[in-house]
């Protein structure tokens, strides 16, 4: 591992739905659970609000990992929103892996408002995973630079 790698501080965006996951993150905070500062949360009304455009934009602007958190299927505040998220993201993640993105740079997790511990754990795990993957170069830099 080079010195660069050790100092590598990934940029990570977490889209969290207002009703479950954002509240779960609040609970992680009020329970004083630790997770890395690399994670920055963006609040959305529902996980189904997250457009693939946003995810790609995040990578474009230099993010190394994107995680999308929503209510558990069946518990969506809007009844059905996360069911659509589940389908869209299953396809999107598969497609992004298919074009050569490393596994696990985009992730979907269901975190309820009561799951502060799960939120913190998930973020710890995710950041660890992204650190292991290293900087995102593939999605940023596709064209041959010769």
């Amino acid at each position: 591992m080079s010195i660069d790698d050790r100092d590598f501080r990934p940029v990570i965006a977490a889209f969290c739905c207002n009703w479950c996951s954002y509240a779960g993150a609040d609970l992680a905070g009020s329970s004083r659970m630790k997770y890395p500062a690399e994670v920055k949360i963006i609040r959305v009304p529902c996980s189904c609000r997250v457009n693939p455009m946003f995810i790609l934009r995040t990578f474009e602007k230099g993010a190394d990992g994107v995680i999308l958190c929503g209510c558990h299927p069946g518990d969506c505040h809007y009844s059905t929103g996360n069911y659509y998220t589940r389908r869209r993201m299953a396809s999107l993640i598969s497609l992004m892996e298919f074009v050569g993105l490393e596994r696990g740079r985009v992730r979907v997790e269901w975190v309820s408002a009561a799951e502060g511990a799960k939120f913190a754990e998930t973020m710890n795990e995710f950041v660890e995973h992204i650190r292991a993957l290293g900087k995102n170069t593939r999605l940023e830099d596709l064209r041959c630079k010769n």
Partner: protein, 320 residues
Amino acid sequence: MQELIERAKALLADGTVSRVLGWRATDTPFGPEPAFFESGEELNEFVYNCFCGANLSKYLIESSALEGKTLAFLKPCDTYSFNQLCKEHRIDRGKTYIIGVGCKGKITVERLHELGIKGILDVEDAGDTLTVKTLYGEKSCPYSDAMLERCHACKGKEHRVADEVIGESADTTDTDRFAKVTELEQMTSKERYAFFQAELSKCIRCNACRNVCPVCNCRKCVFDGNAFDSVQKANATEFEEKMFHIIRAFHVAGRCTDCGECSRVCPQGIPLHLLNRKLIKDMDAFYGEYQAGEDTSTVSPLTAYTEHDIEPEAGKGGNE
């Protein structure tokens, strides 16, 4: 071909239709182009031959908004796109008159070039073989060797919609349409990355893929407008062609009929249909088989759900 012209003339003459959508010869023998005909006289320029791969359904979006009906000639696979557009309320079925035309697979001059046949002057379709007159003499090759990639994964000889059918069609399927996708999935992530890097780097953002795609029919594409702060007439950064192609594939997911026009028209020969096929293959595996455009009512998998769908987990895109 003559039968098609006669029929079109008759329908124009009796006022059933106001215009005809078909193909017209251009200055090369292997490049007929889509064209509207508004009189019997104009129809004399009509052609229908083995090079008429162009899917005409998209042109009906504009013409079905005009006065009077439009007669369109659709090959079996084009009818899927037509249905999809009717489903999306982009075409008014009542303003169209569809004649299903026979198709035994369409060929492309690029394939002939790849086969080493250069200096082509004329091509003669003699059933199972093609006779090609070139500057260097006459050459021949099996018809199917010159066929478009999509014809090797033909959707069948049945027109999904037609007011009448003229001519016989053949099912030209001889490969598994997902074979290349599967092959890519079995590569390592790095190899796939290298593959797509090489392919997508060729993109010159001419937007031909977008403009030809029947379901890529937004009045204003998100890449032309500012809704997402994403105006890109050309690729400003290395990232953008990838973003464009991923989003392009995603926007037509569940709507793409796998007509293969994107790859057919790409001037750089990028196999763009692979992205669409990957999405189709996944959706078939995740939610059950679905063919867009098979009818005008079934809901696309991405606008439906069940309570027990598979989770969006890593590892479905291919090997690591």
